[in-house]
Symmetry: C2
Subunit: 143 residues, 2 copies
C-alpha cells in the first residue's frame, strides 16, 4: 500500500473513522485524477456499485476529516480533490466552455511570489489561510 494511502488511513484512524472500501475507492479515484471530480464523475470511474447516497456520505466524511477539499468553481456541482497536504499545493485551469478543471503546479520561486502577494493583499482584518489562482480560459479540446 502506498504511503499516501497510509497517510489517509492514519488521519482517519486518529479521528475514529474507518477506511472502508467505498472511501478508499473515492480516494484512489481522486488520486488518479488530474483535477477535481464531481460525484457523478467519480461514479463513472468507480462504477454504480456505490449507491449515490453512500458516495455523498463518503465525500462528506472525507471532507470533514480533512482528506478532501471541495472545489466550488463549477456550476451546479461540487467537485472534490485531495487536500493539499496530500496532493501538494497547486492552482486551477478552468475551461469556460466545457467547465473542466485541471490542476497546475507552478515553479516554487513563482509560488513564493504568489504567497507574498497574498500576505500583502489581505492586509487588514482578514486572516488568509490558503489561496488558489483560478485561471479561466479555453482548454485544448475546446480551443
Amino acid at each position: 500500500m502506498s504511503s499516501m494511502e497510509d497517510q489517509v488511513r492514519r488521519r482517519l484512524g486518529e479521528r475514529g473513522v474507518r477506511y472502508t472500501p467505498h472511501r478508499r475507492a473515492v480516494v484512489t479515484a481522486l488520486a488518479r485524477a488530474d483535477g477535481p471530480r464531481s460525484a457523478a464523475e467519480l461514479r463513472d470511474d468507480i462504477g454504480d456499485s456505490i449507491p449515490v447516497s453512500s458516495l455523498y456520505r463518503s465525500l462528506g466524511v472525507l471532507e470533514r476529516a480533512g482528506v478532501l477539499t471541495p472545489h466550488l468553481g463549477s456550476r451546479d456541482v461540487i467537485r472534490y480533490e485531495l487536500a493539499e497536504w496530500i496532493s501538494g499545493h497547486h492552482h486551477h485551469l478552468v475551461c469556460i466552455d466545457c467547465g473542466s478543471v485541471e490542476d497546475v503546479t507552478v515553479p516554487s520561486p513563482v509560488e513564493s511570489e504568489v504567497r507574498s502577494l497574498v500576505a500583502g493583499i489581505a492586509g487588514g482584518s482578514f486572516t488568509p489561510l490558503a489561496h488558489t489562482l483560478e485561471i479561466e480560459g479555453r482548454c485544448a479540446r475546446c480551443a
Copy 2:
C-alpha cells in the same frame, strides 16, 4: 443617471435587450455590494416585490449580455457580481466559516506581476483569458 448605468443600458441596447426596472434593481444592488451576491441575498436587498423566477431570469439575461459574472466559489449558491469591464479587476477574500465573499483590489504593480505569472503558468495548450486569486481565510466577524 450615472455613467455606469449608461454603459449597461447601451450594452443591453446593442443586443436588443431592455433595461427594465427589475434588471436595473439587480444591477444597482450589485453596484452597491462589496462582493458577489446570491439570488437570496439580492432578494433581501431588493425586496419580495421581485418574484424568484423573475430574479433568476434577470440574472440569466444580464449574465448572457456580459453585464454580470457568476462567482462559483460558494457552496450551493451562485453569487453574481458586475462584470470586470464595469467594476474593475479584483480578487476575492472568501471566509471559510461564514462563506461570505469580499472583493479586494491589488496595487497595479502587484497586479501586473500576477498577470505575468498567469501568462507563464498556463503555458501549453490552455489559453488563459481571465484569472482570480481566491484567498480563503477568516473574515473579521468570524475571527
